[in-house]
Symmetry: C2
Subunit: 230 residues, 2 copies
DNA sequence: GTAATACTGAGAACAGCGATCGCAGTATTG
DNA sequence: CAATACTGCGATCGCTGTTCTCAGTATTAC
């Protein structure tokens, strides 16, 4: 009943018999990441990656068995950018908030992470990150399963705030801007009084809450809520 | 400097001159939704939709100008499934929690909503939903811009929990299952002690927190946190 | 030392995708 | 009744991920 391996990391990078491969998963991955940083996820096509490496699309399938594999590799690779060292404060909330903040920075640096089809498969480096978070959660009295769910929630908050932060960053070329202009014209005074009121304020005039501050506040609040109440 | 309209709803459904269209945006939309409910977002291709309607792919472009338009229409259409009537409790937190819960149900009924490329453009029905939430937020002292951000946060929480709820629902055919089995084999005792410990518990054995309860708790906590502190 | 084996690289090709063009047909306008 | 502005849609373009196939090469076994 042994099934074939499902993740990239279950499959060996290369066999032992034939000629040495001219490239490596690492090279594919970094080329793909560079492409994604420049042109977003759509730029990461087999042909584009192959061109970057000076080879043909078919050759890539010697290293990975599907495009999804490549995306998994990319997601795991950038996880290494998260610095896992932190002063052992002993306060889980503080530690987790710090780690989450660093993770958010990675998302800001690689916005395509937000466009990944599904939550990416956890790879070796993601495992180290997971491990670090679980260590930070150790002083708590949370059940093991709840800890995993807490991590999921934390992750979700990170992506959530990363998304709004990115949206605000270049709100000029934002596709949401189209929605906004549509809303302004389509919201009728009598049918949508509150909406028209909310839209009437020129955005940014009113001191908009600093997103990162809000993020830290939210993370701490959620975490303390989760940790202190059983 | 007037630019051409950006959203579907800015474009007229049909002109006044020629023969009456044999189909309507409504028909396209419901056909697409049915396809998505059955086979997920990938099943919603121009060709498939066209086949459903007994026509050719090219014909669809008489009603919409891009596939994205269709997705926008779909997202807006299912918004109508959210019941906006609720006993005017006057308590913003309670009202919002109820509305968010109903929105989550819609996500559970149409899982493809979670796979939509970007946050969908708000359409007419989405506007009604927005309006309703803003009305619920009226008693608060939040600034107008903060209200919009609160809605974004609330939306994010909904998608977050909908995602985990769906994941748990059919955890058998879950792609994350592959990750799990990989994690179990790859987590080494000395390098990932906490991870191996967390994974050693058979999932579900320990009374897993009811997700919906956790959702309601989280929503209330976040909302009170946002509303009570300026 | 040679034959068998197991691998690598890559050109060609396939099915499916979103989208466009151009043309025949039709209802409305002036 | 002609001019106009629309609709339906077959053909087609360029793109995508992926597979087939086969020549070439390094390793292993005898």
């Amino acid at each position: 009943m042994a099934e074939e391996p499902k993740t990239v990391w279950d499959r060996p990078e290369r066999g032992a018999r034939g000629p040495a491969p001219e490239r490596s998963r690492r090279e594919l991955t970094s080329a793909a990441i560079r492409l994604a940083d420049e042109g977003g996820l759509p730029a990461v096509s087999m042909r584009q990656v192959a061109k970057r490496l000076g080879t043909g699309p078919a050759s890539l399938y010697r290293y990975i068995s599907t495009r999804g594999d490549l995306l998994d590799l990319m997601a795991d690779a950038v996880t290494s950018e998260i610095d896992l060292d932190l002063p052992s404060s002993g306060d889980p909330v503080e530690d987790l908030a710090t780690l989450a903040g660093r993770q958010k920075q990675v998302y800001l640096r690689h916005p395509w992470l937000l466009d990944l089809p599904t939550e990416p498969t956890v790879g070796p480096l993601g495992m180290d990150y997971l491990e670090r978070i679980l260590r930070a959660l150790e002083p708590t009295s949370l059940s093991r399963s709840t800890r995993l769910e807490t991590i999921g929630l934390l992750n979700g908050l990170v992506t959530l705030f990363a998304r709004t932060e990115l949206r605000r960053r270049h709100s000029s070329s934002d596709p949401a801007q189209a929605t906004m202009s549509y809303l302004v014209t389509a919201a009728t005074e009598e049918r949508h009084p509150f909406l028209t009121a909310a839209l009437s304020d020129s955005p940014g005039t009113e001191a908009a809450q600093d997103t990162h501050t809000l993020f830290e506040r939210m993370v701490r609040r959620v975490l303390t809520g989760l940790i202190e109440t059983p």
